[in-house]
């Protein structure tokens, strides 16, 4: 069979949205977002090593609305990628691969991401005002 005649899987928009596929693409999206966050981390470290002026620049950016929004997105992405990454590592051992477990695990990951992000920000904000 010529490669052009081979059957292709249907386009993505034909499928109904479901938890498992949404979480799958979210894992990739948060991974890409965290890549940007990792660059931010290095910027922070390099600025801290460079001295007060450079550090002030990072502080100003992170303290701005855009900076805080990015930090919040970065925190949520990190906790999601962390929790779902553990879910992936469990799958790698050959466990919890049946349909029911993938859904249970998926909801656990969503709940854990929400709780951890909330706890981190409540802790951070309470520290700011203390």
């Amino acid at each position: 069979m010529r490669s052009a005649d081979r059957p292709l899987s249907p386009h993505l928009q034909i499928y109904r949205w479901q938890l498992t596929s949404v979480l799958s693409i979210l894992h990739r999206a948060t991974g890409v977002a965290l890549s940007a966050g990792a660059i931010l981390l290095v910027w922070w470290l390099v600025a801290a090593a460079s001295g007060p002026e450079a550090y002030e620049g990072v502080e100003d950016f992170l303290g701005s609305w855009l900076g805080l929004l990015l930090l919040f997105g970065w925190t949520a992405s990190l906790f999601y990628h962390l929790c779902n990454g553990i879910r992936h590592l469990v799958w790698d051992t050959g466990h919890a691969l049946d349909l029911k477990s993938t859904y249970t695990g998926g909801w656990v990951v969503v709940a854990a991401t929400g709780v951890l992000t909330l706890v981190a920000w409540v802790a951070g904000i309470s520290r700011w005002f203390s």
Binding site: G31, A38, L41, A49, P52, T75
Partner: protein, 126 residues
């Protein structure tokens, strides 16, 4: 479908073995404790001044853990971004170019981060 020889050699159309997959899992496992430690530490720095951050980074344990965090993150990041590129970019030359650029970029930024940590830890900060 595959010949016994093809199966024994174990290299499919990807032309590689399990090294990529394996490295991604090992760095993932390393990043579980490292990233949790980092987030908890950073929350402690909300509102802190530069001297506090520099003092912290220059202590041995945080310095070592930060370097490990940087190595594991950027290795994991370069492996992950490579897969994303390989999945979505279908022009061979562009794909190859992007994978190389990402690899070099990750390496360079990781080195910058490690250098920053070491310069604070070893007291060469201006």
């Amino acid at each position: 479908m595959r010949s016994p020889l093809g199966r024994a050699i174990g290299l499919g159309s990807a032309k590689e073995g399990v090294e990529h997959w394996w490295a991604q899992r090992v760095t993932a496992i390393a990043l579980v404790p490292l990233s949790i430690w980092f987030v908890i530490s950073v929350i402690g720095f909300v509102g802190a001044d530069l001297e506090t951050v520099q003092d912290w980074v220059s202590r041995p344990l945080p310095a070592i853990l930060l370097v490990l965090l940087l190595i594991a993150s950027f290795y994991h990041m370069s492996l992950g971004l490579q897969v994303v590129i390989e999945d979505y970019v279908h022009t061979e030359l562009v794909k190859l170019g992007l994978v190389i650029v990402v690899r070099l970029f990750c390496f360079a930024v990781a080195v910058a981060g490690i250098f920053a940590v070491l310069s604070m830890a070893l007291g060469t900060t201006s």
